[in-house]
Chain length 358, copies 4
Amino acid sequence: MTRKRALGVAVVGAGYWGPNLIRNFASSGDWALRAVCDLDLDRARAAVAGRGEVAVVTDLEEVLSRTDVDAVAIATPARTHRAIAERALAAGKHVLVEKPLADTPAAGAAMVRLAAERGLVLMADHTYCYTPAVLKIRELVASGALGKVLFVDSVRINLGLVQPDVDVFWDLAPHDLSILDFVLPGGLRPEGVAAQGADPIGAGKDCVGYLSLPLGDGVMAHVHVNWLSPTKIRQMVIGGSERTLVWDDLNPQQRLSVYDRGVDLTQQAVDSIDRAGATVSYRLGDTWAPALPEREALASMVAEFAGSIRERRAPLTDGEAGLRVLGVLRACDRSRAAGGTLVSVAAPDPAPLEEVGA
Amino acid sequence: MTRKRALGVAVVGAGYWGPNLIRNFASSGDWALRAVCDLDLDRARAAVAGRGEVAVVTDLEEVLSRTDVDAVAIATPARTHRAIAERALAAGKHVLVEKPLADTPAAGAAMVRLAAERGLVLMADHTYCYTPAVLKIRELVASGALGKVLFVDSVRINLGLVQPDVDVFWDLAPHDLSILDFVLPGGLRPEGVAAQGADPIGAGKDCVGYLSLPLGDGVMAHVHVNWLSPTKIRQMVIGGSERTLVWDDLNPQQRLSVYDRGVDLTQQAVDSIDRAGATVSYRLGDTWAPALPEREALASMVAEFAGSIRERRAPLTDGEAGLRVLGVLRACDRSRAAGGTLVSVAAPDPAPLEEVGA
Amino acid sequence: MTRKRALGVAVVGAGYWGPNLIRNFASSGDWALRAVCDLDLDRARAAVAGRGEVAVVTDLEEVLSRTDVDAVAIATPARTHRAIAERALAAGKHVLVEKPLADTPAAGAAMVRLAAERGLVLMADHTYCYTPAVLKIRELVASGALGKVLFVDSVRINLGLVQPDVDVFWDLAPHDLSILDFVLPGGLRPEGVAAQGADPIGAGKDCVGYLSLPLGDGVMAHVHVNWLSPTKIRQMVIGGSERTLVWDDLNPQQRLSVYDRGVDLTQQAVDSIDRAGATVSYRLGDTWAPALPEREALASMVAEFAGSIRERRAPLTDGEAGLRVLGVLRACDRSRAAGGTLVSVAAPDPAPLEEVGA
Amino acid sequence: MTRKRALGVAVVGAGYWGPNLIRNFASSGDWALRAVCDLDLDRARAAVAGRGEVAVVTDLEEVLSRTDVDAVAIATPARTHRAIAERALAAGKHVLVEKPLADTPAAGAAMVRLAAERGLVLMADHTYCYTPAVLKIRELVASGALGKVLFVDSVRINLGLVQPDVDVFWDLAPHDLSILDFVLPGGLRPEGVAAQGADPIGAGKDCVGYLSLPLGDGVMAHVHVNWLSPTKIRQMVIGGSERTLVWDDLNPQQRLSVYDRGVDLTQQAVDSIDRAGATVSYRLGDTWAPALPEREALASMVAEFAGSIRERRAPLTDGEAGLRVLGVLRACDRSRAAGGTLVSVAAPDPAPLEEVGA
């Protein structure tokens, strides 16, 4: 067996997230890190950390003109994703984009279209999807171990770096939405979105948010995102007809618990002639906590990026996935503007909007 | 000090909840249990359990005509509450009513009106409010220990006896709503109600429910009730400007945790001239878990019923409280009927409706 | 199939534990409770609670002379067990004895001998052994699911009713020792006992205790009992060559966890020629929490008592089991008297001693 | 205020622990890392990681002859500590030594003596003592918040790198013993040591160990160390007359819990004339979990090393502390050799022994 040639990659943006990408590309056997591009050269040099073989540049064109660069990873602010991605795709480079894919669904759709036309990989860096826990959840759902998914409830109460230009929906919900898109068979395609937000501290934007996402056939997904509690909760419950899964990301001793319990619909013997007379019963069984390998999510993510390029296939979190997440976020804005009523995701989003989630 | 005379009480209804009331009235020093009334004499006798001094009857009038009965406790189905309560109040008896207060806000309002006219106590048996944990939460909020309440998030994922005639909102949410009414200063008076329900198993009624209750000034309460998971979660988070409280009712070792942490709004130095430029920061402090006395909630509840009669004052959970809970439940029905949009609680509820939460 | 005739039973002693036995015998289909015997008639009457068919007597002979009494359950102080048991066995009654079996191994041995001679059942009420968790542990060990047991570590930090006449070893360790006897194949037969006790509050007896029980072949059981912490811990770890089991009795959501992990001895490649050069490695696998039925331990215990009588076999916790526990407790006294050195359990215990664990 | 001159330091040994020391010295404002010394130059260079200003050498004398080196940190195998430390002290360098201080108490005592003669700092790198949790425990005990310490129970069940030349006592117990020495007022000075070990897998050395350490006046410390369970437990309970502290190092959400509960000795009214008639009662109060700062233990440790040198005082974990830990470990060997009986720590240790903990 011959050793595969490493693919060449350049990272654009050396701010908050870029250094993580740089570190993982540099230590991956699949990749050769060729260049880092940032307007702030000092920041870029610090991120490269004495790796002499990596070029540090300020000019994107310098990166795109290199023939030893097969792919570009974009870790710049969301509003710049489209322009950079389009230039990279036009130059024949595969593209990885930091979440969210773009600042608007229209921008994201344009990126997806161009990548498809050029036959290049466009991948969304939905990092959480590559954690061992989420990979295992996806596997469990896909294998049918949970039966039919009945409801998903996700809570993300988080303290953290609050960015001035986004609200809690656009800051935190992309994590939950990208995970839902990843684990639900067929991806996240809700019938509608109903959102309620609150700003009890006068921050000028929602700090507490609730999203209801009916998935069809009575199935409901719900997301609670919250900046205002210094007590972290990161929990997802997936109720299935056969088993129920609880993911408690802050319990390193037992992140995933699968309850071999289900809910059965029982027809009542009484004089009920319609389904309203039915009741539910519970089966109680064992609990099972699968062992999870210890692997950094970003390492798995860059490996998947390489794999999709080599195998000429869509990556697990492709541009379409990023676009679905964007669509829900934009629908969430519209629902809030309409008093929280259920709005369609598919509604037209006529022109690129200037501001996001403000 | 002279020993207070025990008040006489009769319990109407010896089904699911009645025996608990019977046991607590019988063992209370404040009360003398005089009679139990049920159409099913055997069931009533079993509930009385050989207490020879307690009359067992089928006729409500026989109870109401007794001069040694000061008060009547009603533990019959919700649709019968109004009729029984009105007859008891008309006979000059104080009244305790099992939750929910009535099957419609109109019925409840009539009961409240009559009690006020007669100068009698009308109390709602919101049992959960009298648990040591909720009494302590009320005390903490009232004392200002949490600062201004910013958000409340309540989750009740429960397996249990599913009654055929109610949905998950009417079955489980009364607990959360009565607790919110009890601990929020001024009671539960939301600006509106937005509700989303789901029935993924074809039960003919909602089995998963979400309620958003904006409380004014940007404050949000939210309730998640769920029948479909055999994994219990009963958790309430109350975020305050000074401290955050987490109540985990399934952790007997530490039910209440008070985090001495708060969220501060920080004006940014940058060129922002409006509040949108503000950001939040976190103070991290100690955690404190108050010791809770071990006392049965129903014992505290019957003591409060006696106290309110003796002191001629409203009980902590009076008819108005029961009515506020009913109003939210009814608004929740209307919001669901309107696709989950925010509806007003105060909207007219013209005539007694026949069915509840169906 | 004919319904089995209920066995007749009398309970002797209506103090702390007697009422629990009375309640369980009375509600068991296997048993007909015939009489309760106590010197304090009022206490006995209260324990019987209006069951008119149960005789209440002060004279043991009156109980033993009844032909409708097949068995006697003894719930009196330990120092009286031998005399009562011997009279009951002499009268041809099967005997159940509250833990500990007797106040000395000699007394216990005499009881065991007499029961054997008469062909009657002598059972120790090791209640904890009949909890769903311990029954499951016994089953797991017996089935080989854990592999070879390598070590057992039991911690019982408990607040509770401190009896004036026993120390922490005699008060709490019988629980752990009877469980060890129950779950270890072949029962608890240690090579020796080494005990360390401490009395840091000047109580005049040990309030903190540690027992080491080498079980042969390098296997070690260890018990930590403690009165002095108001924080309860009740945890047992059983390390096996195939799997490790953790029983956390204060975690009702997940009392038993079975870790599918084991320890392997690896021979090192280096120049080591003996086993001392070996090292251990770990296999990491899933965790599994078996569902436990909800059943009161005493209900299972009285059923086992009936079963052993009907099937003319030794009960799961027979007199020999009680005797093995007594032997370890007495050896524990001797080890403490000898500075904590390892002493043999089999050492002679010449004459009934007056005081216990003082 | 003038900025203090950084002290010069050299690290000897770049194996398992050395790189951690190198990283912390390099990033400390108190220190200037001058040199790293290791026989394996490649390993040393990798540990230095491109810090061009740091010399990498194989010859200890080259380090000791540098005038810009004030102190030497030794991270080599235990059996080499004495020789290296003595040469460094003779050269006038302050010395930090990896745990354990030496392979025998005699070797450790010689090091302590020489440092005292030369007026130089000799510090033991008891890293765990500098974790935020242990620093807080020390503070709580010293402040009297717990009252009089009544018992300490430490459990360390750990999977990890098993070194071929030590048993579980010498591998894991130094952590617990150094923490006990750090938090107990006056240090760890037990009246004796009783140890029980077990080797159920035929590893040729103890893999499970129990240490009882009576501290005088009825107070007991106990340590359980265990290699054989792949389930980690790291818990210490400190029972005090006023409060009880539980440290659960694997619960990052609440590592320290202080229970405001105590145990009181109550004289009984009955005819007891001696203390044996006394009983204990419990006060139940709140629980309190102090916030802990996030700081790497090694950063605090190297700061303490610098502080002790500058202020010409003993460091918090001085050579004497290391020596006390060594003394207990050696006594533990003697107790095991004597069947687990209580042996004195002070017993003579005539000559440097060749092997350790074998």
